[in-house]
Symmetry: C2
Subunit: 357 residues, 2 copies
């Protein structure tokens, strides 16, 4: 029996609705399989926790998370309770950094039965490899003066090591796909970091002569996600550009509610963290209509990471059979609830088992 220890952190808002849903799906998979099991430990860390304890997570949080095989996170943030930069830097970004989850992988592709807002989405199928440890997300900087003379200075920090690491990850991934890497840059406007980014990309690409490359400024690239997303394979992007492109990727898929993501610790020293693209969605909290697919597809990425690719691919097929039959939450045009969609996925997983697939 293979056992995977999962730290389950629903977090805020709809995280509390979709994480339990996805956990139920994972338990079903374990039951069906027989040879694996998932041990979930729940952690109640969130903005509410902050209000009660003055911190997003307890001081020993990272120690307690350290020995899990993975972290399964819902969403963080509740502006009504805690300013976003406090809640995020106190938890999501903190875990990403302290656990050296230096790569964020986010696929975007057409899901059967989910209508893209694009007139002609073709069958786009791309992955954004986002540098997840530095860049524009930096707490280096500060403010000077108060009142009308105030100035805020924000540093973005790009190291060769982290930049190259993200790029090599992208090239390796592309070598198993359509062998094309696009670099997201903005070296025409951003004077130091982006020309540096370009030069690292040029260097790294020399080691992968079988991979085709191109480089696009982020403004043009954002527009291309709307006009010709099917022409991309793997895209490597800085922390901020990756963030923007992946929400856009979720947008063209039809809803941010279906988009999955993985924060990968590449050196194996710490657990990786699996967390969908969407946020805590305060506008729909408590209505039972949050789309569970982003979190469930994220669970599939966790299965892949555990080396259970076959289970992962069965799971995604079942999800697509459900969407294809228009069993959908309101964000993608249906009127099913979180629970109904989840239960349908569970039901079909059991059928697939009986058929011995």
């Amino acid at each position: 029996m293979k056992t995977f220890k999962i730290a389950s952190i629903p977090g805020d808002g709809i995280g509390k609705e979709v994480v339990p849903a996805a956990n139920k799906v994972l338990k079903t998979i374990a039951d069906i399989h027989g040879g694996i099991q998932f041990n979930f430990t729940d952690f109640p860390w969130s903005c509410e926790h902050y209000l009660e304890h003055g911190e997003m997570m307890p001081e020993d949080a990272l120690e307690r998370l350290q020995n899990f095989d993975s972290i399964f996170l819902g969403a963080v943030g509740n502006l009504k309770l805690v300013p976003d930069h406090i809640s995020l830097w106190g938890m999501l970004i903190k875990i990403r950094r302290e656990f050296e989850q230096v790569i964020n992988i986010r696929p975007a592709k057409v899901l059967k039965g989910i209508r893209s807002p694009l007139l002609n989405p073709k069958d786009f199928d791309l992955i954004v490899v986002r540098e997840n440890s530095e860049g524009e997300y930096s707490s280096v900087g500060g403010n000077i003066y108060k009142g009308e003379d105030e100035i805020a200075i924000q540093n973005a920090i790009f190291s060769r090591k982290a930049t190259e690491r993200a790029m090599r990850f992208a090239f390796e991934l592309a070598s198993k796909r359509k062998k094309h890497v696009t670099s997201a840059t903005k070296s025409n406007g951003i004077y130091y970091s982006m020309p540096f980014w370009d030069s690292v990309f040029e260097d790294v690409s020399k080691d992968y002569s079988e991979i085709q490359t191109d480089s696009q400024h982020i403004d043009a690239l954002a527009a291309f996600f709307v006009t010709r997303p099917h022409q991309f394979d793997v895209i490597v992007a800085s922390n901020l550009f990756g963030d923007i492109l992946t929400d856009l990727g979720a947008g063209i898929m039809g809803s941010v509610g279906v988009a999955p993501a993985a924060n990968i610790n590449v050196n194996g020293k710490y657990p990786s963290m699996f967390e969908p693209v969407h946020g805590s969605a305060p506008d729909i909290v408590g209505k039972g209509i949050a789309n569970p697919i982003g979190q469930i597809w994220t669970a599939k990425m966790m299965l892949d990471h555990f080396g259970e690719e076959e289970l992962g691919s069965v799971l995604l097929d079942v999800v697509e059979s459900v969407t294809n039959d228009s069993i959908l939450t309101p964000d993608v045009g249906g009127n099913y609830t979180t629970e109904e969609v989840t239960n349908e996925i569970i039901k079909r997983l059991k059928i697939v088992e009986k058929q011995g697939v």
Copy 2:
């Protein structure tokens, strides 16, 4: 006779094709009107100029431009000849800064007869007010070490003065439109500059109680441009976020080739610069198929700036009558040339005149 002195800078690539086209249109308007005239002076500054002279513009360029009523620019950049950050900081960004063109206004709306790549674009009609003088576009920073230890540090600089100025501009604009301003932020990820941005937005909005506001993180906002652009009116954004949103705005309009822009000097000390959203488009240079509408619509914004709003609105109506009759360049699905589209616009302007409209 009112005379407007225009510095015409075609720049690189298709700039050399669309600026002459738009100038012809402007001359037609002057002929028809009778009471105004445009004096064009051409400047050949470009990447080719750089190769010959080692600089994008001569040293006295700004002095020579200073006494014009406006600058009418095509596009800058030719990666085959000059690295982008050299060409852009040597010309486009230099003019924006030295001439204190602190606001960049960029409308995005559905043009009749031009098909949006969105399935259901509704009648979106929004304007992005982009802070155009500072922020992420900064030449403050640098690199340390060579080789594997190299680090690039890029500063973004946000002053209260410039931030507030852009926001007030947006609120004033919204008060003449649908009375809604959206702030593009990223205060959950970017630690100093964006919380600062938010606090200035909160302060400024207190002075405009009749204007509704909301604040969206740039990643979500980019996705909303795809899923519900019709819900926006005026959006105020930093230099980089404004850049990304406006290419995306051009994308949902159907082509970056139709999107107009204006770099506004708000204190009247220096000329403003009118320059479409698109770049030099090396892939289609010399084919005679560049879409002239971005440049021509940009000319309309210049007419507005000259106080000739009526002429501006006649011009945009004529442009839309041409697109509505499917007289389109290939980027928007037609097979007309730059010249044919331009000539049709000119022909119809003359008809409008005969009808005495």
